[in-house]
Amino acid sequence: MRRATALLVLALAVSMFLPACGGESTYEFTDIRDREKPRVVVPPTTSAAQRFGFRDPRGASPGGDPHAGVPGMSGAPKTVFAWTTPEGWEEVQGSSSRDGSWRVAGEPQTDCSLSKLKGDGGGMVANVNRWLGQMGVGKLDAKGVAQLPRLKLLGKDAVYVSTPGRYGGGMGSKPIEEARMLGLILELPGTAVFLKFVGPTKVVEAQQGNFEKLAASIRIDASAPTQPTPTRQPAGSGRPEFTWTLPATWEDRKGRGGRVVTVDPKGAKDSECYLYLLGGDGGGIEMNINRWRGQMRQSNLSTEEIAKLERIDALGTKVVVLKIQGPFSGQSGEKIPGALLYGAVMLKEDYLLTAKMQGPADQMADEWDNFIAFCKSVQQK
């Protein structure tokens, strides 16, 4: 009896220490829940950096920080850009103040950088002359800057600087005697965006086409998260306000809640249209579109499919618009069997504004043009 007890105690003691020795236990999933729709959907391209609130880490850059020493850089807004790297180029790691860094493969003296500054970054003339100074070239006055050519960047006309010279080098990079600089400067409300390419003259001139392709491919990555903050930000006094023009056959309704405005076609009992403001990126374009598609019992669209959706100019940006047909089912159980939903997602620097119109398909069929006109008329005060 005593021997058996001693063995039992020994077995218990051994079993208590077993877990500390390392090993793998196997279990079957027992808690499984089916949901009508996922709690959240992120793009399949979401990177670890985006999940953790960082910019994508990249390799070392020869060119250093193009805006070193410029005040305001540290406070630049956390917009995340996306792009398509030209063939024959490679992405490299830049300083933390850069949004993107590239070089021509096999040409270590080349350096291309994308960055932004809060505010106007010192002003267009100052920025152009700062770059010209780096190349040892004389300054331009405002008139001279105004005469510089323009090239599209982020869908807007950016000032295009192209100059030969002696590149003085940046932080940690060597001077280039016969150099050429290509650069784009774009002033946006509250932000200035810079794309600069510098390197040996022959290489840069040969790669000018690729530089312009890169510029054309740069876009705001709507799916990218901002710095994570565990708590929701309160709606404060900085909330943007808007104006709009109603189509002649629409009317404004008073006393709507949670929305910027609610309007609907006159006499249409079951159709309504409203603007809804969300802070930050509001979950992004993709999430909002797929949320609407879920309400209409339609499958999610991929990032590529969303990229092909129609765009209109509104709120100073390109706005995704779409139609969704199907049985509408709202969160509180309301249903419209044969419904049509029109949606527009307007992503700005600090907020996301959605326009959504839904109702029975027969009431909605003639309202698309009105909806588009309404979206185009929306302006921030």
Binding site: P43, G236, T262, Q331, G333
Partner: protein, 434 residues
């Protein structure tokens, strides 16, 4: 042996043991209360009251092992069943005591059920900005719903809450995104991975998944940081990041953001995919950012999130009301006017500090509000503690049973005393007249 058992049963049901247990429980309460100076309430509960043994308590430099609340109450349960119900002398004089003991056993059993089966979390809802001013007086009044100006009894997507989250417990969730737009969540609760030591891992399988989920390297408080060049060269890190374990915050458990390594290992022997999961992976609006991964031709999202439970209904916050007594900062009223939405039916409910909302075994208590630094904010948010406890009414019924028992006992004693006194007086009167 029989004699030993008999003595053991006598000891388990003895007054002496009950006395010792009550003294130890008092001591534990005292020690646990003092510990809240340096520890969060959650940590104190875990360490002192939901444990069997407290091994790291010290008086000065001397370690003093203490019995935890769970063990003390378990022994107390046995003590009162054996001594207070089974072995107690049965008779008219002990009926009240017996009833009270049954009530206490009922109370302890209810606590056990709550500890094992209840879920506790929080849900925060924001006010909408405008309301249906039905009486046109320019201010919101109870009964005036928000976002319902046309009185269509309809709410819009995203404007109500139907889930609550733990403030201290986490879970790893693998979400399968279905082509139909639906989703299936495979959930691993925190207690399955929180004790993973260095070199330990746990594997989770399911026949419908084309991979096994292997978890390792859990840290209660962690932060991912970009891998240094030397680390990257050495192959350390995942996706360019390493998970840095930090000292847990003991004074406020809600500030801990855990991290863990998740590996999806295909069951057909294919190449595994691994990633760091981090509790802080969320957007500014609070939406989680899970790890998206494709495997076996299907899309999945893996996340380490606060334990989340769905309510059987949705709740919409109409208005949060905070009133102060005139001229002083003392609160007069904190309350929330909400609408419960279930199966298309709407019901307005007023939740105050002392009047929680109870429905289908779920209780919503008014807990917090904000932004408290903006008394004239356009919108307020209101936080509710949500408790789903199958035994939430047991304490009330147990106290009623205990009260009945004690009332019975004391009234009987009073009756006997008055009766004896009456006899004594009668006897004295008869003696006097004789």
């Amino acid at each position: 042996m029989g004699d030993f058992l008999k003595k053991a049963v006598v000891f388990l049901g003895s007054f002496e043991l009950a006395f010792i247990l009550l003294v130890l429980l008092g001591l534990l309460t005292f020690v646990g209360t003092l510990a809240q100076v340096d520890m969060s309430l959650y940590d104190v509960q875990q360490t002192y009251f939901e444990s069997f043994l407290i091994t790291d308590y010290k008086v000065g430099p001397i370690p003093v092992p203490l019995l935890g609340g769970y063990l003390l109450l378990s022994i107390f349960f046995v003590n009162i069943v054996v001594g207070g119900i089974i072995r107690i002398r049965k008779g008219k004089s002990t009926v009240g005591i017996l009833i009270s003991h049954v009530g206490i056993v009922f109370l302890l059993a209810g606590s056990f059920v709550e500890f094992q089966l209840s879920t506790k979390g929080q849900m925060t809802l924001w006010e909408p900005e405008e309301f249906a001013d039905l009486n046109g007086n320019g201010q919101w009044d109870p009964g005036e719903r928000f976002d319902d100006a046309n009185r269509n009894m309809r709410y819009d997507d995203g404007e109500s809450g139907s889930a609550y989250k733990s403030t201290s417990e986490w879970e790893v969730v693998v979400t399968e995104l279905k082509a139909s737009g639906g989703a299936r969540e495979y959930i691993i609760p925190q207690d399955h991975f929180e004790d993973l030591g260095e070199g330990d891992s746990t594997r989770y399988t399911h026949q419908d998944l084309p991979f096994d989920v292997v978890l390792s390297g859990y840290a209660l408080n962690a932060e991912p940081r970009p891998a240094r060049a030397s680390e990257a060269r050495a192959g350390v890190g995942l996706d360019g990041f390493v998970l840095l374990a930090r000292d847990p915050v003991t004074t406020n458990n809600m500030r801990n953001l855990p991290g863990i390594i998740a590996s999806l290992k295909p069951t057909d022997g294919g190449k595994a995919k691994s990633a760091i999961l981090w509790g802080g992976s969320m957007q500014r609006n609070g939406n989680r950012i899970p790890w998206p991964v494709s495997m076996g031709g299907k899309s999945y999202q893996v996340d380490l999130r606060s334990q989340t439970w769905d309510l059987p209904f949705a709740v919409r916050l109409n208005r949060f009301v905070h009133k102060r007594h005139a001229g002083i900062a003392m609160a007069k009223e904190y309350s929330s006017y909400v609408t419960k939405i279930q199966d298309g039916q709407l019901r307005d409910i007023h939740i105050t500090m002392n009047e929680p909302m109870r429905h289908q075994g779920v209780t919503l208590y008014q807990t917090g509000w904000g932004p408290q630094d903006q008394p004239r904010a356009k919108r307020f948010w209101s936080t509710f503690s949500v408790v789903e406890n199958p035994s939430d009414r047991i304490p009330m019924w147990a106290c009623i049973v205990i009260a009945i028992g004690l009332l019975w006992h004391f009234l009987r004693r009073l009756y006997l005393h008055l009766k004896a006194e009456s006899r004594r007086r009668t006897a004295a009167a008869q003696g006097g007249s004789a």
